[in-house]
Symmetry: C2
Subunit: 171 residues, 2 copies
Amino acid sequence: MKYLPNCLTLANLISGLMSIYCTMNGQLDLAAVFIFLGASFDSVDGRAARRVGNSSEFGKELDSLADMVTFGTAPMVMLLTTEGSKAIKLIAAMIFLACAAIRLARFNSEQSSLNVFIGIPVPAAALLSLLAFFMINRVIVYYILVIGLGFLMISSIRLPNFKNHPDQKES
Amino acid sequence: MKYLPNCLTLANLISGLMSIYCTMNGQLDLAAVFIFLGASFDSVDGRAARRVGNSSEFGKELDSLADMVTFGTAPMVMLLTTEGSKAIKLIAAMIFLACAAIRLARFNSEQSSLNVFIGIPVPAAALLSLLAFFMINRVIVYYILVIGLGFLMISSIRLPNFKNHPDQKES
């Protein structure tokens, strides 16, 4: 039981890798399913850590690294398969990925314990980018939306945190 | 000048993304070049931070997140393009990526300041995996080597740290 939280975090990381693999094989629906699966593991690992009384600094670091692959990199690998302008899609992917890294680094270094999210969390931005990937037909609109989601992650917009457990993570 | 170290770290991250993009387009030589480029940025960002007197917790976190993409994910995306058994290559990539995450999380949470590396650093493992990618013809040997490099990252083997500055990073 002691290792369960970190195993769930590693399952999130592996889901991210599987998503990238599916994208490389043209299985975009399955790639999205793996990102959702990663989000499911991500939503329970922190809870599991508190339940087994094993909320460690190591666990938090591992969680951010897994989030960087599953919610930062994997959705941008999907974006890179689209047919639009090579330059614009690369810029969109770079901005989203850099903003995800800045947000995750800021969260880990500042250890915010507020009951609100400041800026939108990385997994939420990733899931919204997936929605845009499948719903928006004009790629340029999708790229602009992804850039917008990037900046929203590092913005100072305050959103309610419904998971307002006292030591709740806020990545 | 204040933001130079973090800009170098983001350049490392962007190199990782560019490597993945090149791999997706079949440009494997260029993909490797971008990982080397990322390693160059990675080798100077910590030095730049100390020179401008801006060695922050945020910078260290950002560095690990960039390393996770450039030295964890990008070389494994290259591995996934090989022609070998689907199951074995996925297992090799999963083990390498999980070990890279464990090592980076451990480094950040334990803040080791020893003058030796315990286990091989993530960028070194990534560069050795590239060497194997281009030099070894039998994919199964390459996969086994990648798994070995994964375990070496989290092993307790001690290697001299030639960059033994007192507050030198050791990712």
